[in-house]
């Protein structure tokens, strides 16, 4: 390594051109570490390239209508596109986020500010453990245990909150419970359970870094605990909250198994989230994969590429926001 500095007019001394003679071992080591680091870039490039190469056939056939077409019938030679699937994917993610983000903020505040010192470590462990529970198991639990209860809530909401467009369910005749399972709403709730630990972990870390002197300053002025949270911790942790939310959004969009287990796929868009039937790109790939012909696979690759690009963008943005926020310097998302 050679450190050279541009000559400065005022300085007459000649700076030493520092020579570091590295041993062969050190040079090999640095090269190996650089190569290892480069694999991530290579991998990223390969994923994009190969999905694009394999999806080109489908893109060529459908053209831009790939993003507007509702139906998915590439195998029958019909039309196909993510025009319906993508909005459903986003809707599930938004439902999940609406629940996960507020709960995570509360949980993170509880862990950092309210929980007794000893409980704090246990709670942190529990959050980590929850993040390690496979999404498959959340999906199973959601399907067998939660869904039968949630359909009642769905019906209740449709009955009493039906004046809000997204809760309005139209039915021929009386509304029965069988109208409500496998919906966007229920899938979103199950996904939110998976997001809560991830999101809580990010926010807990950020809140935990709120400067003690500012907190004590607020308390010394006679502020209440809520006052400290409102005036010190929440402003301090704003970047972490936004970053955590976006990270969760990325996860929610890509969640496969839990959504696949819950939903019954539909390809016509609808406004309400409570009635039966939903979809997502990831679930589409998981469900259609085994029954697709060559064009079908190509179309799935195209859909996968769409998902890949979206999550990549969202996550880079989340990473950027967290690292730019005042609190984010030492935080990893």
């Amino acid at each position: 390594m050679t450190i050279t500095i541009e000559p400065d007019v005022e300085i007459v001394e000649e700076r030493i051109d520092i020579q570091v003679r590295r041993s062969t071992a050190d040079r090999v080591y640095r090269a190996a570490a650089t190569a290892a680091g480069a694999t991530t870039f290579v991998l990223m490039g390969l994923i994009g390239t190969f999905l694009l190469v394999r999806g080109t056939g489908a893109f060529r056939k459908s053209g831009f209508s790939f993003f507007t077409e509702f139906a998915w019938q590439p195998d029958l030679g019909g039309k196909f596109g993510v025009g319906a699937v993508l909005p459903y994917t986003i809707a599930i993610a938004l439902v999940a986020l609406t629940i996960a983000v507020p709960v995570s903020i509360l949980a993170a505040l509880f862990i950092t500010e309210y929980a007794p010192r000893r409980a704090r470590r246990i709670l942190t462990s529990i959050v980590d453990l929850l993040a390690a529970v496979p999404s498959l198991i959340y999906g199973l639990w959601g399907l067998f245990s939660l869904q039968p209860r949630l359909v009642k809530l769905s019906k209740w909401m449709a009955d009493h909150l039906g004046f809000i467009p997204i809760f309005r369910v139209r039915a021929e005749g009386p509304k029965t419970l069988s109208l409500f399972p496998s919906s966007t709403f229920i899938a979103g709730i199950i996904v939110s359970l998976m997001l809560i630990p991830i999101c809580t972990a990010v926010m807990r870390e950020v809140f935990g870094q709120a400067p003690t002197n500012e907190k004590e300053g607020a308390l010394a002025l006679g502020g209440t605990r809520w006052g400290v949270i409102r005036d010190v911790i929440l402003p301090f942790g704003r970047g972490g909250i936004i970053g955590g939310a976006m990270l969760s959004l990325g996860r929610a969009l890509g969640e496969t198994i839990a959504v696949t287990l819950i939903i019954s796929p539909v390809f016509t868009p609808k406004l309400d989230i409570l009635s039966q039937g939903s979809n997502s790109i990831a679930a589409l790939i998981a469900l259609k994969f085994s029954e697709s012909n060559e064009l079908g696979i190509s179309a799935l690759m195209a859909a996968g590429l769409t998902l890949f690009v979206i999550t990549l963008l969202i996550n880079s943005m989340a990473s950027f926001i967290v690292s730019k926020s005042r609190s984010g310097e030492a935080t990893e998302i």
């Binding site: 590295r22 071992a25 050190d26 090999v28 080591y29 640095r30 570490a33 650089t34 290892a36 680091g37 480069a38 991530t40 870039f41 991998l43 990223m44 390969l46 994923i47 190969f50 394999r54 709960v103 509360l106 949980a107 509880f110 500010e113 309210y114 929980a115 529990i126 453990l129 929850l130 993040a131 390690a132 496979p134 999404s135 498959l136 198991i137 199973l140 399907l143 067998f144 245990s145 009642k152 209740w156 809560i196 630990p197 605990r225 809520w226 949270i229 990270l247 496969t256 287990l261 990831a282 998981a286 696979i297 690759m301 996968g304 890949f308 990549l312 969202i314 880079s316 990473s319 990893e332």
Partner: protein
């Protein structure tokens, strides 16, 4: 600072009574408890009697809303608006904390209750070769799936841990020109949806290289997910190693490689192990990438490089969508075993993570004795 130190000379026998600072204010406790009970009564009255509503879930939702309102109103009556808001925040944030613990108990409890009655020791040694759709759920087992999972995760570990740790070393020790973009790329890659990882391996390994679906293809897909996780968590761990140790090593004439291999990595040992095991706990339950890559099987195939393999999550995912009760029970048994694997890995990670860098294991102690260094 204890007050006993100050008082020993004056009153050696009696310990002065300490002021109890962290106990709950009795007024607050009464307010919260009273509100809880009162709102319960009120909810019962409104919910059951005045408005024709039904359903357990709705009842508790209404109760919670009334309870929170009551806490605020009562505290406001007792003291002032500021205290009331503080109390309100306390109650809501406490419920948020509880809302995080609850799912763990429910998920684990439900999985155990559904999975345990079909769990026999035979589950760990038999496969599904003699099992038909109408067999009882205790017949056959998931040995083929367990073997598959362990092999696939093991291979993924072998591929991505060295790469990931070296990438982390690049980020935190070599600090080359690529460090900043690499960090962003790693962050972005760790959000790659797991199904996309499977799709990618399918596109490159199976469609383009003409390989068939094998356990190894599955482990490649898992590696795509594992690598960024290992890189990121390892980098965090390496950055915790104090810079003074690196300086001390360099000042002794250590080169870059030996500083990393003899000082930095050993110091971060337990943290790295924890990071890897936690990463494993997450990867072991991944289902989506395997759907496309391993093919699935009903019999033991101990060779991950040839022929289709099964894995525990995929086994569960397939069986649970059968209409037969026995298949669903079998799936739950598989889910229980999977959950236990995750729990075991988690506990191991916690035990190792609790050790400081100066922990000297038995094996190491013996080696040190032999070298005359202990």
């Amino acid at each position: 600072m204890t007050d006993t130190e100050l008082d020993t000379e004056l009153a050696p026998a009696t310990e002065p009574e300490r002021i109890r600072i962290r106990t709950l204010d009795p007024d607050d406790a009464t307010a919260v408890g009273g509100s809880a009970l009162a709102s319960l009564a009120l909810t019962w009255l409104i919910y059951g009697r005045l408005v024709p509503l039904t359903g357990g879930l709705g009842f508790w939702v209404c109760w919670y809303i009334i309870f929170v309102t009551a806490v605020w109103a009562v505290t406001r009556q007792l003291s002032d608006a500021i205290h009331a808001r503080d109390q309100l925040a306390r109650v809501i944030i406490w419920s948020g904390g509880m809302a995080v613990i609850a799912p763990l108990l429910l998920v684990v409890g439900y999985t155990i209750s559904r999975g345990y009655h079909a769990l026999r020791p035979s589950f760990f040694v038999e496969d599904q070769r003699y099992v038909g759709a109408l067999s009882k759920s205790t017949e056959g087992g998931g040995a083929h799936a367990i073997i598959g999972t362990l092999q696939q995760v093991g291979l993924a570990l072998v591929i991505s841990v060295p790469l990931g740790v070296m990438s982390a070393v690049y980020l935190s020790e070599v600090k080359g020109r690529l460090a900043r973009p690499l960090r962003t790329a790693t962050d972005a890659m760790s959000a790659v949806p797991s199904i996309v990882a499977g799709l990618f391996i399918y596109a490159i390994w199976i469609l383009s290289f003409g390989q068939s679906q094998t356990g190894f293809a599955g482990s490649l897909a898992l590696s795509v997910l594992f690598l960024p996780t290992v890189t990121r968590t390892s980098e965090v761990v390496l950055r915790l190693v104090p810079g003074g140790l690196r300086e001390a090593s360099l000042a002794l004439g250590g080169g870059d490689w030996r500083t990393t291999s003899r000082v930095v990595l050993p110091t971060a040992r337990s943290g790295l192990a924890t990071a890897v095991i936690l990463g494993m706990a997450r990867v072991i339950g991944e289902t989506a990438p395997l759907i496309l890559t391993i093919g699935g099987a009903f019999v033991v195939n101990a060779n991950p490089f040839s022929g289709k393999q099964d894995s525990l999550p995929y086994f569960v995912f397939r069986l649970v969508r059968f209409p037969q009760e026995s298949q669903i029970d079998r799936a739950w048994t598989g889910a229980l075993v999977l959950l236990m694997l995750v729990l075991v890995l988690f506990v191991i990670a916690r035990i190792i993570g609790g050790r400081g860098p100066d922990h000297i294991g038995r094996l190491r102690r013996r080696r040190l004795k032999k070298e005359g260094l202990a």
